[in-house]
Structure formats: C-alpha cells, structure tokens
C-alpha cells in the first residue's frame, strides 16, 4: 500500500475541503444547531446552561484534552447542544480529526499544514519565557486551579480563561512578584478555591485535621471492641466466690461488658 506524498497531500486536502470541516459544513451544522436548540433544548437550572465553560455543555467542550475535536465543536457551536448528544458528536469530531492527522503522519514524512493539524496546537503565548521564569511558572501553574475545568490545574486546562490566567501569572512573575504574591493576587479575586493546596485556617481545620480525627475515633472504637472481647473471654464466676467479690465483679463487668455475648459470660 504505497501512496505518493503529493497524492496523499491532495487526498488530505480534498478530505478537509469537501468534508465536514469546510466552511459550508460548519455553517450547515451551526444552522442545524440553532434550529435544534430553538426547538428542543431548554435551559434548565441556573449554572447548568452556561455555554462558555460553565454549564455541562461548555465544560465538556472546553475542558477536554482532545483540543482538536473541541475546537471544531466550538466552531460549530456544538457547546450549545443538549448534553446527551455532545459526547457523541464531540467523539465523532475527535475521531475524524485524529484519523486525518494520523493519516497525514503515516503517509507523509513531512508535516502537513492543514486546518486539522493546526487545531491541535494550543494558542501560543507571545514569546517564550526565560528558563528560570518557565520553571517557576510550571510549579505555580500546577498549584493553581482552573475555575472552568475545575478538576484541572492552570497548566493542564485548555479553557480560554486558563489561558488568560496563565498570561496574568506570567506577567506577575516577570514583574518580579514572589510565588506567594502571585497566589495572593489570584486568591483575592477567586477565593481559596483557586489554590490546589488550601490554607490552614479555622475554616479549613476540618479539611486538614478531620481525617486524623476520624482515625482517632476509629482507634478508640477498635480499642473498646478489643477490651470487650477480652472481658467476654474471662472465665465465668464460680459458685465458690464470695458474695462481696461477686457484687464487685458484677459492677466492674457492668462497666466493661456491653454486648449480649458478655451477658452470657455473667450467667
């Protein structure tokens, strides 16, 4: 199965130009989307319908590692789709783009400059930072949360806002601000939520020390159970024991023994 590079390029180009990625295709899809959303989709509860990376749809579109598919979906207005269809549609787009890109890589020794290949490149930020700055940015960005894709750090997130925040962080770092100052800047605007490592203060004591508290409670319960088992294993009282001894032993056991098992022991 041998294909000449020139022919392959031509084939890719035809695919891209005539296929769903053409302007016409996108426009058609956008029209269909408007018709569809106008007829069927109703915004439900507040916060769920934000198409910019907030609601279900936007989040799925923006917060994905498969930027190529997401970009096409975004271009076609797919983030406004009912959520049921979005993963399917986006999946289809991603597959299509992936196959075009991989076909290009398989058949050609030189990179094909096509819209599909370009779509995978993240928006470049003007100029490269110096190595020292880059190193600090890397650490900082991995400790800050993207507000849109809330399970991703600023470094990972492809959302538009994350790009803006990365740019802001870089500006601050290049102005000579310390890491603490950069974090304080974002915290003043977005609250503790923006920090992946929340500060230790009365509000977060439960968060930081709660697990140890639970561990202590668990240990205490374990200790009580062990003690009970131990008490239950004690030999039953003999008739020879004096009534005084018997009374004090009974009292002691009443304090220690609690389950039905223990009651058997007392009989």
């Amino acid at each position: 199965m041998h294909l000449k590079p020139r022919a392959a390029i031509a084939k890719c180009k035809t695919l891209i130009n005539t296929g769903i990625f053409s302007d016409f295709g996108l426009k058609m899809l956008a029209e269909w989307r408007v018709w569809f959303s106008g007829n069927f989709s109703k915004p439900s509860r507040a916060g769920e319908v934000r198409a910019d990376g907030f609601g279900k749809h936007g989040t799925r579109t923006q917060c994905t590692a498969s930027t190529a598919g997401a970009k096409f979906a975004h271009a076609a207005g797919f983030e406004k789709f009912p959520s049921v269809f979005l993963p399917l549609v986006r999946g289809a787009y991603t597959c299509a783009v992936a196959s075009v890109v991989s076909a290009a890589f398989v058949f050609l020794s030189v990179g094909v400059v096509s819209p599909a290949a370009n779509a995978q490149v993240q928006t470049p930020e003007a100029g490269l930072p110096s190595p020292a700055v880059a190193k600090r940015l890397k650490t900082l960005e991995s400790e800050l949360r993207c507000l849109v894709c809330q399970n991703q750090t600023l470094a990972e997130s492809p959302a538009g806002l994350a790009g803006d925040l990365r740019r802001e962080v870089r500006l601050l770092v290049e102005q000579g601000k310390t890491d603490a100052e950069v974090k304080a800047f974002l915290r003043a605007r977005y609250g503790d939520f923006v920090l992946y490592r929340p500060p230790v203060d009365p509000k977060t004591y439960l968060l930081w020390f709660g697990p140890f508290g639970l561990l202590l409670i668990g240990a205490a319960i374990g200790w009580m159970i062990t003690r009970r088992r131990h008490a239950a294993k004690a030999p039953p009282l003999t008739a020879a024991a004096s009534s005084v001894e018997q009374a004090s032993q009974q009292h002691a056991r009443a304090l220690l023994v609690e389950d039905a098992h223990a009651e058997d022991g007392r009989k």
């Binding site: 934000r50 609601g55 538009g160 806002l161 925040l165 605007r189 939520f193 409670i217």
Partner: protein, 207 residues
C-alpha cells in the same frame, strides 16, 4: 457524635445497674440504643447526601463580596473613543452584567434583562467580555439592548480583577461602590424577583 452517644449510653447502663435496676431493663435500653443509633446515623447521612444533590459544585463563591468594586477604565462598546469607569456610578445602586455574543446562556437571560430595563428600577452596565465588538453590537440589535451602556473587555484582563470565570455573571454594586452580591449563571424571573430586586430595594433604601 456517635461515640459520645455510645459512651453516654454505656454510662447510663452502668448507673442503672448500680441503682439496682434489673438486668433485663438494662439490656432492653442497650438493645434500643443498638438498634436506633445506626438508624439515626444512617438517616443523618442520607439527609446530608440528599442535600448534596442540590448543591452546584461549579459555583465558586465570590471573594469580592462586601469589597470595593475593582476600578477600571474601559472603552464603551458603542463609543470606543470614550471610556467608562465604575467611579461614575458612585451614589447609585447598579448592576454589572457580564455577557458575550458567543454565550448561549446570555441569550437565555436576555429577555429578563430587557424586562428589568423596562421597569427602570436599576441601571445595568453591560460588560462585554472577550467579544468581537461588531458581533456584540449586532447581537444587541437582534435581541435588544437593556444596558445603560456596555464596555468592552477585549483581552479579559479586567474580568480577572472582578473574579469573572464565565458568562453570564451579574454583580450588584451599592451606592458606596461596594460589591454586595454576585449571581453566577443566567438570571431568570425567579432570581430576579426573589433575590435581585429585593436586594436592590434594600440597598436603595439604605443611605
């Protein structure tokens, strides 16, 4: 909580024994505890989990509530040679509504904003976030313009100062220029009538 209750129950049981209550009575109290305590814990857990169903984890509380509205000077959408700054609204209760022509939920909330504008209870300033001014203007022509004026934040830097993380978002600013409330997500009749309008009325009454 559960441990406390277990301990207190055992203490009560021990006291009862010393007090001479029959062992049958003790064990029935204990049995009742053994039966009801897990039930109580279970019910409490279910209640918390049930409540959790209605929380929106995407909603990040604003860090700017009761703080002065961040100053800015941005070009007006309809008159790019003029600028607007929040200081101009000093002495008025006003709303800042973050929107974009690219934002579907903004279109959803727009009729409610148009209604609000008709009532003329509060000036609404539009904050056109990371949008193409031409698209923004034609969007307003198409769906109506409820804004006293709109400003364009082309690169989104001012939005960061306001803690904006999406559109639509709506800030309520009082006469002293303090942010009193932020609504994340689209406004609808319920939000407007139950939250925003009462708050605006209160803030207007306050000197």
């Amino acid at each position: 909580m559960s441990v406390d209750q277990t301990q207190s129950s055992s203490v009560a049981a021990a006291d009862a024994t010393i007090g001479g209550v029959s062992s049958a009575g003790v064990s029935s109290t204990r049995r009742a505890w053994q039966f009801f305590l897990p039930l109580v814990i279970f019910v409490a857990l279910v209640w918390f989990l049930y409540q959790g169903l209605f929380l929106n984890p995407r909603e990040v509380p604003s860090a700017l509530i009761n703080k002065p509205a961040p100053a800015f000077s941005l070009a007006k959408l309809h008159a790019p040679d003029q600028t607007f700054s929040p200081a101009e609204m000093q002495g008025k209760v006003w709303l800042l509504n973050v929107w974009g022509s690219w934002c579907a939920s903004c279109r959803y909330e727009h009729p409610f904003l148009n209604d609000l504008a008709k009532q003329q209870v509060v000036p609404v300033v539009g904050f056109n976030w990371k949008d193409d001014p031409t698209a923004a203007k034609s969007w307003l022509v198409k769906y109506g313009d409820p804004y006293q004026l709109s400003v364009s934040d082309l690169d989104g830097r001012v939005a960061i100062n306001w803690g904006v993380y999406g559109a639509p978002e709506t800030f309520v600013i009082d006469k002293a220029g303090m942010i009193r409330y932020k609504h994340t997500g689209p406004i609808d009749a319920k939000v407007l009538n139950e939250t925003l309008l009462p708050l605006i009325r209160d803030l207007k009454r306050a000197s």
